[in-house]
Point group: C2
Chain length 348, copies 2
């Protein structure tokens, strides 16, 4: 993503609310056959024919979910869309539309909001979704973004969190922990910068980690791959709050237990080396880090042959009877109960 | 609405984000046949069969859109739902689902949020809509509410802003200006209270105005009435920003002009008497006040007999060729061009 280096500054109040919406959304082209009417009336009009619809929404708040001192606005727009598209994918659905509402204090010039929407547009194009609505208003402090995403699927394809059975395999896409470490690297550089504003950080050793934090992806490709492999997961969730928290959701809602094998958890080489540098445990990072936006799902044992050896997914354990509990089997072959260490924005 | 007078105070962080969502949504019952799965997974699952879907979203921010010093939280929850349901009605659709996301600073105890959701629940029950999702997070300052609403209609029933033709009649439901005046009364009482906290205001002379501000309704009844009368509006919009602003939207998007008759604008007796007391022009209040959430629509001349004399709707003018402009015909039979004085949250 190329940043715009020209520092033109236009006051938003010059455009007004309707002018601003028109200006921001005029670059978006409607491509989804399910979109009849996008932005510009009291509501969007959609036609899903005989498909079922999934609907999800998320709120991102400056100072709680993001820090604009190292999160470029274009990345923020991209990420706000991705976070919701990931939830659509976690239902085994194909993302189709989003709405984006923003509140901004008047410290932001129009050009800043254009950057934000440029990121949203890239996400829309990459994932084939239409921007069909939203709201734009002023805030008394900071920026917030509220995104709602919709997707479609056939009724028989929907995958809930509640369908896992004992002996099902527990599978995760991609690798874990990188987004959390990326955030730690950026936080460290921010502290260095505050002490010495002349410092020029070399972050090439952490490029994967930083990209995973600043520009996560939704695993729409995994949903498509599973369809091609003719594998329907029995349960699925996306990993926004850390592996341990998501496993506990799956186990609770499916009323099963789980054995998770520490040595199977997929980690990128940069995660391993950065954990050593920061002197933190890589398993803890994978279990509790969050924001990986990978898919965690369970499949029946008979689907093992279809997914074994697939470089995009890793079998990390299996489900058990609920009474056996939710456990991590360590590299030393010890069994430890998994408890949620996921992120809680209300914790002080 | 009966306010809870017991001042129990529970810290939200004790429940955590998931506990909070579970707690707040457990009282909501799914009733819509189109809702397959509500709160509790990565996304809601909906099935609209062969109906089209309308989708709208709005953001309400403390200090910009509401003032908690005179807006009870239960009313705020109700209003946040209504504002969106009104947009669904303005497409000639039947509201079916909403999602509600809130961000709250930790100055709010759990009991305050329960009040907010109690108001949302009353709106859901009254309008027959299901709460199917949302997000709950902390804010660095104040409260904000983001609501998305969905509705259904047959493809042939959708009414856009763009369908008005010259000679169509311009019609408005209910009466105008009361919500704005209710806000003025409440603002005045707040100033009195700040000077003398012992004052006990008697607001009975303004009860209609205050109710219109604090507890607006969406005109779902008008949509149903028009169906019964077999009248399909040619264009429609809801009045959130004042009559003049909405007329301009209809005219611009339909490429027509308009003659609006000042003496036809429906005003409640309390609006007239309070305008006299405040020494403001009642036409200005109706044109620029906003937040009435009435429906403004156009109908073909041949539907005149079906709606004339209907106490729920008033013919206030007619559409013209675009080149004739958008004009108010005053009581003195003068023609004045209408310009938007609607609310702009970005104006300083």
């Amino acid at each position: 993503m190329i940043e715009d280096k020209s520092f033109k500054s236009t006051n938003i109040s010059e455009l007004g609310e309707f002018g601003l919406i028109d200006h921001l959304t005029s670059q978006f082209v409607i491509k989804q056959p399910t979109t009849i009417k996008g932005v510009g009336d009291d509501a969007a009009v959609l036609d899903f024919k005989n498909q079922q619809v999934v609907l999800t929404t998320d709120l991102l708040i400056e100072g709680v979910h993001f820090d604009l001192s190292y999160m470029p606005l274009k990345h923020l727009g991209y990420k706000a869309a991705i976070v919701n598209i990931s939830d659509v994918c976690a239902m085994n659905a194909t993302p189709t539309q989003i709405t984006v509402s923003i509140a901004i204090s008047n410290r932001f010039p129009l050009e800043a909001i254009e950057e934000l929407y440029a990121g949203i547009k890239i996400a829309c194009e990459k994932y084939g979704v239409d921007l069909v609505g939203g709201d734009t208003t002023s805030s008394t402090k900071g920026m917030l973004i509220s995104v709602t995403a919709l997707g479609v699927l056939k009724a028989e394809d929907v995958v809930y969190r509640s369908g896992a059975k004992p002996n099902d395999l527990l599978v995760v896409s991609g690798d874990l922990g990188a987004a959390y470490l990326g955030l730690q690297v950026l936080e460290r550089e921010k502290q260095v910068f505050l002490v010495n504003p002349q410092s020029q950080p070399d972050l090439t050793a952490y490029d994967y980690l930083i990209e995973r934090h600043l520009k996560p992806e939704a695993r729409k490709d995994i949903i498509e791959m599973l369809k091609e492999l003719d594998v329907k997961p029995t349960a699925m969730i996306d990993i926004s709050d850390g592996l341990s928290s998501e496993i506990l959701h799956l186990c609770k809602q499916s009323n099963v237990g789980c054995k998770l094998y520490e040595d199977k958890i997929p980690l990128d080489q940069q995660v391993i080396s950065t954990c050593e540098e920061f002197n933190i445990n890589s398993t803890t990072v994978a279990l509790s880090g969050g924001e990986d936006y990978e898919l965690l799902f369970t499949v029946a044992q008979e689907d093992f042959d279809k997914i074994k050896g697939n470089p995009s997914m890793t079998i990390i354990g299996f489900m058990t009877e609920a009474k056996e509990g939710v456990n991590l089997i360590t590299r030393a072959n010890q069994q430890i109960e998994i408890t949620a260490q996921g992120w809680n924005s209300f914790k002080e």
